[in-house]
């Protein structure tokens, strides 16, 4: 009988020890990178082919989509890894947690005030439109979303040298408002908006004029293991945007044209702009991140 009590105690202790060990390991998994390297926590540096890690925060600027200008008031983070360049460009690898580009809902100034549904619209649409758009309380937000992380292309050389495309990104713009529903997008995975951002000077289609980006100031951290560009400016004002789709849920066949008319969609090249300011771009090598990780168990 005492033998059975003892064995139960041993099993309990073993289970407790295992639980503690699991907790300890779980704690370490998110605390191994130190110093400036902590921002590369979501870099897939163990994935084959990943040569470098990227962590970039955009804290300002604006996106001009057709007739609407949306300031970047909430920071947007882009993170992940990228391979060695092939013909100047590196393939991108998504962040480990899947949040390659953070979703920051930016307020559309003035919402979509001024929307006037066509005269022939049903009374319900007119009433809903008036309720949701023609007041200052129910704003509209615009969120940039990546359509595919693997389609991102990076050119470190162009980023630093202020020449050519530094970052190519396929995106879609999510417009949100209770009336628009949850599936109102400009661009889609099948037909994304393609941004070809540069730190140099753009050559846009008219009526847009050339605008200039900046690689900001360069700084080396952690003994040359991290390169940081401060206050970089990435620009592209030569992209086109398709018509909006999925706006208004089951009434999308009526609401889509209203939104397109209000924003001026589809919008051809030369009428849109992405001016991403206050970018802090940090890059490290996967080897350095791996080493720091292994040195700090």
């Amino acid at each position: 009988m005492p033998k059975k009590r003892n064995s139960t105690r041993v099993v309990c202790m073993a289970l407790c020890a295992a639980a503690l060990a699991t907790l300890a390991l779980a704690g370490n998994a998110s605390a191994k990178l130190v110093g400036e390297f902590t921002k590369f926590q979501q870099c897939p540096w163990t994935t084959e082919g990943v040569n470098k890690c990227l962590y970039s925060v955009t804290a300002g600027g604006e996106v001009v989509l057709g007739t609407k200008k949306v300031p970047v008031e909430k920071s947007v983070t882009i993170q992940g890894g990228f391979a060695k360049p092939v013909e100047g460009f590196s393939k991108f690898f998504a962040a480990k947690n899947g949040e390659t580009m953070s979703k920051a809902a930016q307020n559309v100034p003035g919402g979509l005030l001024g929307i006037v549904p066509p005269e022939k619209s049903p009374a319900l649409v007119k009433a809903l439109s008036a309720f949701f758009f023609e007041n200052a309380l129910t704003g509209v937000t615009s969120t940039l979303e990546l359509t595919s992380a693997s389609e991102i292309k990076v050119s470190e050389v162009n980023l630093a040298s202020k020449e050519g495309v530094a970052l190519k990104m396929p995106i879609k713009v999510h417009l949100e408002n209770p009336f628009l529903g949850k599936s109102c997008y400009v661009g889609s995975s099948g037909s994304p908006i393609i941004w070809e951002l540069t730190t140099g000077i753009t050559s846009p289609t008219k009526p847009n004029e050339p605008i200039e980006g900046s690689s900001g100031t360069v700084e080396f951290l952690e003994s040359g293991r991290i390169l940081r560009l401060n206050e970089a400016v990435l620009v592209d004002n030569n992209w086109s945007a398709p018509a909006a789709s999925g706006c208004g849920g089951i009434l999308s066949f009526l609401v889509n044209p209203i939104i397109n008319g209000q924003i001026g969609l589809p919008s051809a090249k030369g009428k849109n702009a992405a001016i991403l300011k206050k970018n802090t771009i940090s890059i490290s090598t996967a080897t350095a991140v791996k080493k720091v990780d292994s040195e700090n168990p």
Binding site: V157, A160, S161, S215, F220, G224, R225, A288
Partner: protein
Amino acid sequence: MKRNATKTLLVGALAALAISALFAASANAAPAWRFNGTELSGSETILGGAEKSGLKVKGMTTTCDNFLYKITISNKSGTGEGSVTELPLYNCYTDTVCTVSAITPEALPWPSNLTSVSGTPYIVIKNVKVGILYGNEECVLDGFLVSVTGSAGGLISNASENATFNSSSFTATGTKLSAFGEKVEWTGVFPTEAFQWHREQALSVS
């Protein structure tokens, strides 16, 4: 009426003379190469080596222990000119984990000229272009060819027969070297000694 015209003519002539004198003074202000006090005629070759010359970007300094150079100098209309024809760099390293796999001056020769800023002589080297290839897997610039371009101004000391390149000499001459689209600091002291027709003669600039 005639007196007034004469006066205007005189004033005009004096003004023209004053302007000419001013331009002449400016032209004379550009210094020339001299050996033992005599203005160089023809050309001469200067060979030398700087000790510990470094290029600095925030967070990383690239140093070369041996920074050799070859400049052909001459005077043209009383103004010193030159041409940097060779610039081999040896024993280069950084103060970070990055190594220097290769460092090569490009698009030589680089033209240069003497100039005077507030009475002090300087040498200005133009069209500078140096490619630096960094190494080490941990280095963020591993395999990255960094191009340093621009112009460089160095203060010439007749007393110690050398040219000093630093942030003050760059500011004084309005020159700038850039890498990654921004300013790079270059420091180094270069002896100015003739190695051809005027060996062991005192080289000065005035």
